[in-house]
Symmetry: C2
Subunit: 191 residues, 2 copies
DNA sequence: CTGATTTCTTAATCTGGATTAAGATTTAAG
DNA sequence: CTTAAATCTTAATCCAGATTAAGAAATCAG
């Protein structure tokens, strides 16, 4: 659980005691490659930190097409905040793309921490700020950039994750078809 | 400032004293129809609550095309959170669409309130949660719905704002051209 | 190893919505 | 009122990226 502690400590100033008692609420969970972490219709009552592995969150439309909304790896949080906060049944699927180890905390325990270690509320507020910022960046990028530009931005932001994730997942994250992504990569290689 | 106080009181439990001392940090600002509230290149150091009027936030691309990101009216907050939180120079414009009265608080005063009236940090966290939720809803809707469906969703969510805002602004919010919106409305009227 | 399944590529065709252009209507200023 | 400017509509043409189809390459289970 050391990575998680370092992660929190890098974002807020927190004393050893509070950090230990907060992180003691987390449980470790392990998933196999391609295993589902959360299915549509289930409630997402935990906030999840990725210790090792790669995870994606996706929406499945009425024709069965998957639209990837988030991709995360080591030292990132699984972003299903929408359903975590609304407490509604998730319509999104969370899936491990590689063998993955996460640490998770239940909503109730997080809410208790807001009271017992108030600095945790600051931590969550900052996390939310960043999540909001990156979602807005992604949304604006989606609207103002072509498919090729979006792919280049993805490469910049996600580095080696590109090689750890199937291409059809990346395509669905970029909101294009796998065929089109294939064409873009071919075109870029030639230049 | 009564609306603002009612608004805050409806979201968190706050005692009269804290509420008054928090809201005393807000200043009133008035804008004419079509007046700009914030220009690209300026810093957005205030959080703004709309008391009366209609405001939009938009991005201007390299060809001068405007993309509307948020539309807000009475009892809503002006959503330029991205630049408020990053402290970067805004690339977005905030504009009053009607004659508008807002109440604003400076970032520094908000941060002091986190310490002096801790319940305000809860308030901002909840605001952020909702902003995140509606941005994610909008993003998913943008990806999974056709232009016509997006228009119908807009009508449902925004009610009478439709009639208070020029149609080319609505088109840019829906990420379509005014011509296409015109066609959609025509098609819907026939059925 | 080997066949089966999954993933990726290539290429032809199609389409939602953009672009362009021009006229009609509304709004605002004198 | 009257005119100019802003906004909205209609219609023809165009294009980025989708869809469809089929073969190639990689991965996996036995």
């Amino acid at each position: 659980m050391n990575n998680l502690r370092k992660h929190i400590d890098s974002i807020i100033e927190i004393d050893e005691k509070d950090l230990l008692s907060f992180t003691s609420n987390f449980q470790k969970k392990s998933y196999l490659k391609n295993e589902n972490i959360l299915l549509p219709g289930e409630k997402n009552d935990c906030l999840m930190y990725i210790n090792t592995g790669v995870v994606r969150v996706f929406y499945t439309d009425s024709e069965g097409k998957e639209i990837t909304i988030h991709i995360g790896s080591e030292d990132m949080w699984v972003n299903n905040l929408y359903y975590f906060f609304t407490k509604r049944e998730s319509i999104l699927t969370i899936q491990a793309i590689e063998e993955t180890v996460i640490y998770q905390i239940r909503r109730g325990d997080l809410e208790k921490a807001y009271t017992n270690q108030p600095v945790i509320e600051t931590f969550i507020r900052l996390k939310l700020q960043r999540a909001f910022i990156s979602l807005q960046e992604r949304t604006l990028n989606q609207i103002t950039s072509t498919a090729e530009e979006r792919y280049l931005t993805f490469k910049q932001n996600y580095g080696d994750i590109e090689t750890r994730v199937p291409q059809y997942v990346i395509a669905s994250y970029l909101n294009i078809t796998p065929e089109h992504l294939s064409k873009i990569r071919h075109r870029l290689l030639k230049n």
